[in-house]
Subunit: 506 residues, 2 copies
């Protein structure tokens, strides 16, 4: 899932701080991460004659107006009397929409006592579906499912954001319906779950069988799913509307029509009830166990990854082998954090052992996300060991944030996918703009005064480096030297398929 932990708050200096973190908050908006942004600001009296105070841009309104474009609610605490209710209002908006909100605090209100109103439930918490519409939508869903021979669930990131994984799992388990995730929601469902198929994303799917199963299903239940160009594999996904039921916090669409006033939690609870009460005729008898006939051959997601053979230890490291070796070492105490580029495409193919341990900006795609995110993960879930996959280009953007990890005693494992430049961009359009400066990554730990650094050019070296990093209690930077034109199987597949599409259209 994207955007860091399920909840975050960020506080900073007026404008010079606030406008610098805008992109991170925009990413949280795009990917539905609730963040409470708290900004310092000039005092209330200072604003009266609109003087030029340092850090001011156009007017004292500028920063708030900018943040209005990337948040669902904002307030400037200009009045003690309303301050508390304003804070409640915007925080409730963050809870409801799972998106960022903005609170601006003039410095001269910071130490003032404010009256606290009796806490009321806001409008948000009492939103209900229209009962008749909900019943009609469930009835149509029941009919569609009863006729389906090969249904599948695409579990989206909203299930995680809105804490709706349980009803979907119960529904799927009652009826034995396989579940796929998408790029943004990978690991919303535990990847070891027997019904879990893998990541679906057109040509970017984690495996061919997973892709085939979803694309040949006669009913695709997209639950809490963002339909984005990325999650749909840049137009390579094949999900015709005649096969799709799409239920999100924003809409409920069955094939070509839409039901208004149906809340996602009510709809999912309804599905769970239908299944529990055996109201979906014969569903169970049709596919008693969908998995045995399911043609998993390459690779079988329910098989342990193949151990590394002794004979291949001295083979050069490639993206494919790096991802394979990584999957041998990951356990439920790890959280894989992918940056943008092949770090993300490749990560689609990694199997992780339990829910909520994969994080990537898989829709907003802002480079430089992963290293700072590893600090966020460490602070929010100290029991998780962050394992960062980051390209060399992205590492140069934010890699020195590791000095914060050193200062705070955190111990992420950073795997730099070092292919000497912006590798994924080279596949799209090559040119001198894909060149990065050449860093001696070995010096990063010396610069920031902490951590171990190791290079890996062969499979055996990478395996050893990872084993030693996992065993140690120290921040570790692994400089994985990859061939310049190497890429993950997922990116290779995407590149081939997009080339085919281009040929077909020209």
């Amino acid at each position: 899932m994207p955007g860091g932990a399920a909840w975050a708050s960020s506080s900073f200096t007026y404008c010079v701080g606030g406008l610098n973190v805008l992109n991170a908050i925009a990413g949280a908006y795009a990917e539905k991460s609730p963040v409470v942004v708290i900004s310092g600001a000039p005092g209330r009296k200072d604003r009266e004659k609109d003087p030029l105070l340092h850090h001011k841009v156009k007017t004292f309104e500028t920063q708030r107006r900018v943040y209005d474009e990337v948040t669902v609610a904002s307030t400037v605490l200009l009045d003690e009397q309303t301050a508390a209710s304003e804070i409640i209002r915007v925080v409730e908006a963050a809870i409801h929409h799972k998106r960022p909100v903005y609170i601006e605090v003039p410095y001269d209100i910071v130490d003032k006592p404010i009256p606290i109103p009796a806490l009321q439930h806001s409008d948000f918490s009492i939103q209900h579906s229209d009962e008749a519409t909900l019943a009609a939508a469930l009835e149509e869903t029941r009919t569609v499912l009863a006729c389906a021979k090969q249904p599948v669930i695409l579990a989206g990131v909203e299930l995680h954001r809105h804490n709706l994984i349980e009803p979907v799992l119960k529904f799927a388990e009652s009826l034995n319906i396989p579940i796929a995730a998408d790029l943004l929601s990978k690991s919303v469902i535990a990847e070891s779950h027997p019904l879990y198929l893998g990541v679906y994303g057109g040509a970017m799917s984690s495996s061919l069988p997973c892709r085939d199963y979803v694309e040949s299903a006669d009913c695709v239940l997209m639950l809490g799913t963002f339909i984005t160009d990325m999650s749909m594999g840049i137009y390579t996904a094949k999900l015709e509307r005649t096969r799709v039921i799409l239920a999100t916090t924003e809409q409920l669409r069955i094939h070509y029509h839409t039901y208004e006033d149906v809340q996602l939690p009510d709809y999912l609870a309804g599905l769970q009830n239908l299944a529990a009460q055996n109201q979906i005729e014969n569903r169970k008898s049709k596919i008693e166990n969908p998995l045995p006939p399911f043609p998993f051959t390459h690779p079988n997601p329910h098989e342990e990854p193949r151990p590394l053979a002794h004979s291949e230890l001295t083979n050069p490291l490639t993206m494919a082998s790096l991802l394979h070796i990584l999957s041998l070492h990951l356990d439920e105490n790890c959280c894989v954090i992918s940056d943008v580029g092949d770090a993300l495409f490749g990560a689609v193919g990694i199997r992780t052992a339990r829910r909520a341990e994969f994080i990537a900006p898989a829709y907003y795609l802002s480079m430089g996300f992963a290293v700072p995110a590893s600090i966020g993960v460490s602070m929010a879930a100290p029991n998780l060991r962050p394992v960062v996959l980051v390209g060399d280009g992205a590492f140069q953007m934010t890699g020195t944030e590791l000095s914060t990890a050193v200062r705070l005693g955190l111990k992420p494992i950073i795997i730099i996918l070092n292919n000497d430049g912006f590798g994924t961009m080279r596949k799209i359009r090559d040119g001198s703009f894909n060149t990065t400066s050449r860093w001696n990554y070995g010096k990063i730990c010396e610069l920031i005064g902490g951590g171990n650094y190791v290079t890996a050019e062969t499979k055996g070296q990478f395996d050893g480096a990872l084993q030693s990093a996992m065993g140690s209690n120290t921040l570790t930077v692994i400089d994985a030297r990859l061939p310049r034109d190497d890429m993950s199987p997922q990116l290779k597949n995407m590149t081939l398929e997009m080339a085919k599409l281009r040929r077909a259209t020209t």
Copy 2:
């Protein structure tokens, strides 16, 4: 002057790039630097059904709306027919207002031919003053100046932005009126000019005589000056309105009244004419040469800085001695670039030899400005050698941008004012938040694969380091180790005066 070179353009990726550079553009707006922002964007057809394309935040309008808050004009090139005239419109706004503008280019218009309209002069270039109002304003100015016994000019940064230095210099030279600059406009006037007094900024002035002269003047001509809290020394400046004539691109104010519809260039040309035609009665005879009686004793700005004595070479380096030693090495081929904090306050006291060779974000005060700015200066003026003053805290924000300097073969001299944390903030309010990570700055050159690194703990070491950096053709990082609680004379003065103000008001 702030915000980098007089002209700049910046191009980037939609949202993930654009929102990341917003703060830099906001700083350019605040300090009146014209920048043409060019952003890539989704294609025109892609926008039709408002799909979720990667990098999109709220709507396809989001980025343009955000930029509207920090620019004077914006356009999205959606139509070939109007594209050229739209580009002309926004670029002319940048030229007129000397502030940033925004051009968004959907990727599917990039290769399209566009019709170029016959170039017309825009409305901006034909703005004129109301003649009668201009005459009245000049007549009142003439009267005020004729009565003045000790007039002074405060030359503001707009003189540089709007290319209006010449009429002001001619006017001042005709009438022998001394000229001070402010924090934002330091070196708008050549500091070696015989009429140049120094930097005025209340308690932050470059010298006590300069401050005394301005504050005891009976007519202060503030020409093209931003009146900000910073340039006024955080409320320590004493410039009563009864003594002030303020002429900027936005207003013309004499004492307590304002003249509308007077353009700054016309007013300054009028002043120059009045002086040239000897229309300001007796002015010359009153103060034939204002400089001899001018009580410059400490230090005399027209004297060369004192050379370093052999006996003090082993004394520990301090901010005051660092600034003194720096002034011994600067010549007209250098451009001093200050970051925020004592790098800026201290720099007020440095004498530079000619116009346009001091750059600092002296109003917007965004930390981390100086190292990237040195790359901008090198690209815009390859004949200038950037000399960067940057605190250790600010260096940690953007210092690795030096790898771009290495890649491009640039050779700035970077002086890290290393006092182990946010030193200026410690003086305002101390706490653990002023702690930075401890970097081994010596490793930065090894990390980025270029440049020399040297430490300096004594005056002699710093002098030697600077001499060797100036003599070499290599990027050099000087790690200037300063006592933790040391500060520049300017900051010390500010701190004392503000403490006095606080005592007086409590």
